[in-house]
Symmetry: C2
Subunit: 213 residues, 2 copies
DNA sequence: GCCTGCCTACGGCAAAGGTCGGATCGGGTC
DNA sequence: GACCCGATCCGACCTTTGCCGTAGGCAGGC
């Protein structure tokens, strides 16, 4: 239904050992995923923020920034906090495993990892995430700022108006807030309605809330 | 902020061995959780549906319905699909662990389980879940049917009106859809506004969408 | 029985919403 | 420069909404 259903899930792979990193990316690509390689923790965090992958595979022991730090770092940023995170490590002791899970990882794979184990783990976590998203079939999102609304194909000023409209303000209130005449607000709304293809303010609100983020 | 923040998280414990079940519930209660005991899989699924716990601890090997079946059963129902699910089992082999995780469990504890391990695992999964919910600070929900809106404290007919209001209809449209006079629609809206404590239709929409489900 | 809450309906009026015409400004193109 | 186009702004006008009062029918609780 959505245009995104056929795109390959993007998997960020954070692994300092070059050979291992190549292997992982190759396997993932063959299995139909789009791997994003990162050869250290810092780079991994950067890529997680800039590319917002669908899942993260991360080595636990790395020079510089280790796996725990990467995980902790990603959890504090809203945009990356919900991404499934799988540890990949040579340490297979029970205590290591528990430490990984307790830090908030979603799975813990021990090297040497079998290909089908890896793929199954990735598929399961992706499915679990999608499942949670699918539960929100009627999910909508209240924008945190006007700029978030520009993606609807409206100008910045129009986004300002739409933002306050969603906050439940009347035209007079919006005019006062933005420091313009009420008639101007109406004109902006006129354009907004046209661009969104709706007839009135209530319909405009719903299309704005339901638009893909 | 919410009134629910101080209530003890409800933990459903599914375990066939009576001694073990008592131990677990005792530990959980001491740690400030509200345990819900179930001594077999079938009963566990029932309780999961009727009590909607915040987390589920489930033994893997049980007579009758085993842990995998319980998990699979819970995943198909929308209301229980997102509940964190932790396996608790005597089988600590690597393959068993992987099987559990691949089936979609969120963690896998092996007996004998240390108390602090158990508590840490439970706390982590609860935190992870809450985190995901908190991310949706701006999350709203578009109702699938008018009856979904009755929880706002409005009558059924008022819910009908509010439903179509959210669909972006004008008063005249709503009157036509419901087969009543436009003036009646206005009267219903009047009551709705009062009950929701809002001033206009746009604000009514937002409070309806943002109300806790 | 009586009272209360809900659903229905009408008319009127002020306020807000929505549509139109018209205007300026800046950036880009020919 | 002349031109077009989009964004922004404003005022005038008609339509819709919101808010009052009023009121009959109907179900359920005291």
């Amino acid at each position: 239904m959505t245009p995104t259903e056929n795109v390959a899930p993007r998997i960020l792979v954070i692994e300092d050992e070059p050979h291992m990193l190549r292997n992982l990316t190759t396997i993932l690509r063959i299995e139909g995923f789009e791997p994003i390689p990162a050869d250290n923790g810092i780079r991994g965090v950067e890529l997680a923020r800039s590319r917002t992958p669908d899942l993260i595979l991360c080595d636990r022991m790395m020079p510089g920034m280790d796996g725990f730090s990467v995980l902790a770092e990603l959890r504090i940023t809203a945009s990356t906090a919900a991404i499934p995170f799988i540890f990949l490590t040579a340490r297979g002791e029970r205590d290591d495993f528990r430490a990984g899970m307790t830090h908030g990882a979603d799975d813990y794979l021990t090297k040497p990892v079998k290909v089908d184990e890896l793929i199954a783990a990735v598929r399961t976590r992706l499915a679990r995430k999608r499942e949670a998203a699918a539960l929100d079939a009627g999910a909508t999102h209240r924008p945190a700022s006007p700029s978030e609304l520009v993606r609807l194909g409206i100008s910045e000023r129009e986004a300002d108006v739409l933002y306050w409209l969603i906050e439940g303000k009347g035209n007079a209130d919006i005019a006062a807030i933005l420091g313009i005449a009420p008639s101007t607000v109406k004109k902006h709304l006129e354009h907004i309605f046209e661009k969104l293809g709706v007839e009135n303010r209530t319909a405009a609100i719903m299309t704005a809330l339901q638009a893909p983020r």
